[in-house]
Amino acid sequence: MEQLVLDDVRLTYRRPLDDSEFLALDAVSLAVAEGEFVAIVGPSGCGKSTLLLLINGLLHPTSGRILLNGRPVAAPGPDRALVFQEFALLPWRTVLHNVELGLEVIRKPAAARRELARENLRRVGLSAFERYYPHQLSGGMRQRVGIARALAVGPEVLLMDEPFGALDAQTRQIMGAELLRIWERDRKTILFVTHDIDESIYLADRVVVMSANPGRVLEVLPITLPRPRDFEARNSPAFVEYRRRIWERLEQEVRKSLAWQFSEVAGE
């Protein structure tokens, strides 16, 4: 029984100014098993972030279904928690209070909230920074708070939208290893959107390659690298081979999307 199923999902936007239609996602189908780490790569504008918003429920598909444990997804909720690229921490709340945010929304009592928040801060290694404010933390630390916040509500699926995209390349590698360490503990289902091919191979059990706009699934590539994976894994011949295959698929799409973006800017 697959935990998360996307069945022929399509999303069309209507442009308010001239009422024209814009097809963002085209017939995306995907099945994710419980405990799987699935990475989604694709060129800019292919709709991979939009896909996560659809799964969370902030957006609704124009056609097709999204099922979690057999039940259709209707509205945002804690069972499909989002981690944002730009962290989205509330600047006026301390770190601890920020982690409590999701728990407040689902109305957990105060004592339980505090406990869960503290525990998840510990998991991401930021216990010492409970009383700090976001602006006092580095980018990597802020994202860890974002991850703690999402984990705290006990989601079935963790949706990560280019979570390391705003970090520098070196921090990104460390954070990737950190993420795997946290994940190993209870193996939550993760959907991880990224534009970084190496990152996707390093982290995932399967890599979904998407096309340029309108977004479609081009290929789903199983990654059979043994776990736990260390930094050395990035240099193995298997890794290089995966990279080659994915880039082969992707290069055309990236070029297509660049041309499209340019025409969008010039034409509108």
Binding site: N56, L101, V153
Partner: protein, 281 residues
């Protein structure tokens, strides 16, 4: 001592400390701001005292610190100052508090509903830029010479800065925060309480601070115009009689009130919004 530094001292060239009195020089430099500030105030007071008490004419025009103090004691003892201050304070509070409440409520609504904002914007802008002082004769026609007209002046003076700044505060809220809260399944009310209100708070506080200044001006000028009761009336009375000492007392009292209340607000701002984003309209 260093020669004049251009712009922020960081860019200037400072003379090296003299070895003989190095420690004294260092201490003087560290507390330079406080020392110079205090020194200039002291100098000012001394000069004022000397010039003012020099002759009867000068005393009549500008008074002098010791006379001011004596007059202040006298006015307090007779209850004149206290009574007037009480009236003014009442008018201030009755006008200011509703202005803040209404300004924030309306500001939140306008920030949330874009169409409402567009509709009311030009009207509000017109009222905001209009010197409410100009409205005083009109308000007196409508509300009479009693407390009501003064309360109205205060209210109108304070409500617009609060309103405009609240709207600005709501507008600068990052939609990302709203999305983050919504992604956990939050409803409209939760979004308002968890994101909109705390997010707009610094701007609201700035608006309250601006409204405070305008409110004080409103009370004083309103009372001066109508001259029935309160501090403003005393101002008119003594202004007509040419009594500089009393006027200075009144000026200092009013200025002190304004100064203290704004400083108090700033302190509250620091407390509840340490993460402030600078925004003032």
């Amino acid at each position: 001592m260093s020669s004049d530094a251009v712009g922020p001292a960081a860019a200037g060239i400072q003379a090296p400390a003299r070895p003989a009195s190095a420690r004294l020089a260092l201490a003087l430099r560290r507390h330079r701001r406080g020392l110079l500030g205090t020194a200039s105030v002291v100098v000012f007071l001394l000069v004022w005292q000397l010039v003012g008490s020099h002759s009867a004419v000068s005393a009549d025009l500008i008074s002098y610190p010791t006379q001011v103090l004596a007059t202040a004691a006298q006015m307090t003892a007779s209850g004149e100052l206290g009574g007037a201050a009480l009236v003014s304070l009442q008018e201030f509070v009755y006008g200011f508090v509703p202005a803040v409440v209404l300004g924030i409520a309306l500001g939140l609504a306008m920030g949330r509903f874009r169409r409402v904002r567009y509709l009311l914007d030009p009207l509000i802008m017109a009222f905001y830029t209009a010197p409410r002082i100009a409205l005083i004769p009109l308000l007196v026609i409508w509300f009479g010479v009693g407390m009501e007209s003064k309360v109205a002046v205060v209210f109108l003076g304070a409500v617009f800065p609060v309103l405009v700044n609240t709207v600005a505060g709501v507008e600068q809220i990052d939609p990302l925060w709203v999305r983050a809260v919504r992604s956990f399944g939050a409803g409209e009310w939760q979004v308002v309480t968890k994101v909109v209100m705390p997010g707009a708070l610094p701007a609201v506080m700035a608006g309250v601070r601006l409204g405070l200044g305008r409110a004080i001006i409103g009370v004083i000028v309103g009372e001066m115009y109508v001259a029935v009761a309160g501090v403003g009336r005393l101002v008119q009375v003594y202004s007509g009689a040419g009594r500089a000492a009393e006027l200075v007392v009144l000026v200092v009292v009013t200025a002190a009130f304004g100064f203290v209340s704004i400083t108090a607000l700033r302190l509250i701002e620091e407390r509840i919004a340490p993460w402030r984003r600078e925004l003032e309209v």
